[in-house]
Symmetry: C2
Subunit: 197 residues, 2 copies
Amino acid sequence: MFSPLVEQLISALRVLPSVGPKSAQRMALHLLERDRDGALALSQVLAQAAQQVGRCEKCRTFTEETLCKLCDNSKRNQRQICVVESPADVLALEQAGIFSGVYFVLHGRLSPLDGLGPKEIGMDKLAQRLQNDTVEEIIVATNPTLEGEATAHYLAELCKSQSVKISRIAHGVPIGGELEYIDGGTLAHALSSRREL
Amino acid sequence: MFSPLVEQLISALRVLPSVGPKSAQRMALHLLERDRDGALALSQVLAQAAQQVGRCEKCRTFTEETLCKLCDNSKRNQRQICVVESPADVLALEQAGIFSGVYFVLHGRLSPLDGLGPKEIGMDKLAQRLQNDTVEEIIVATNPTLEGEATAHYLAELCKSQSVKISRIAHGVPIGGELEYIDGGTLAHALSSRREL
């Protein structure tokens, strides 16, 4: 019912995650009606980012430089590497403000069914780094899902073969969480991972 | 925490309606991680649409041509004009598949507080059309809000001065709606607008 170009815009907007036909239509009409400058700016940045953003040579996070800000920062402890699934996890950990080491971003997790083997998530690069650089500790912060656990297990084997210390972040009851609202799986994990006081 | 270009992309995505910082971040990472081609395509269509999509000379809906498909269609009854607030309303009415006339899109409603007077919503253009073309009926389909009603009232005055028949679409209990779940305002309207059987 819309003109061809407007229809094209609506269907192009559907590349965005969790944007269905109705939202895409609302977005297209909003941009055309109220914010053409914003649309043009977005168009420009989109093209630039899609073409120029690559991965940090050391940690594989997204950056348009060779090295990301953290890997290029001599104040960060380059001997302590926290392995995460996505760049968003780096942000979350940095916002906690407690970790002073560097990261390694898998961009996924071991998932053979989806065609994600060790190489696809950069394990060869990490293995190389363990061999060539002085790495003291690998901290595994993959998500506590089945695939995240499998990835953690793989990382443990890798570190053992290189005699590098490996640890996993703790899973349990969140600070501020109330016991009665926590799911059984988390409680079971919290109990079995209890520490002496 | 992200590289400058990624941060730019995240903030540019916030021109989209109801996209906050978290969604924008998720969208940016999704595009970079999984769909760069889609991002490039979106970038192109966005620029094209923002620059080329204008308004139909007759009905003010969005189109990149001089006239939209409906105004350019000789099979549509050009003497019956349905006045709506937005191009999305045209789509909704067309999907109902019962109306064979043409539309006039206000791109808003009378709302002096927002700086939307008669001229901003194209009333001068509609008045001109009532004078120059043979228009038999104006059907007002603005939304049943305070401002929509004010707009309907203004249209009624305009049509009276030009002796053109004017009608308003019915408001009442939706087909398939159950009485007990309908709000009081709608029920009051449905009662006062009752028709003899």
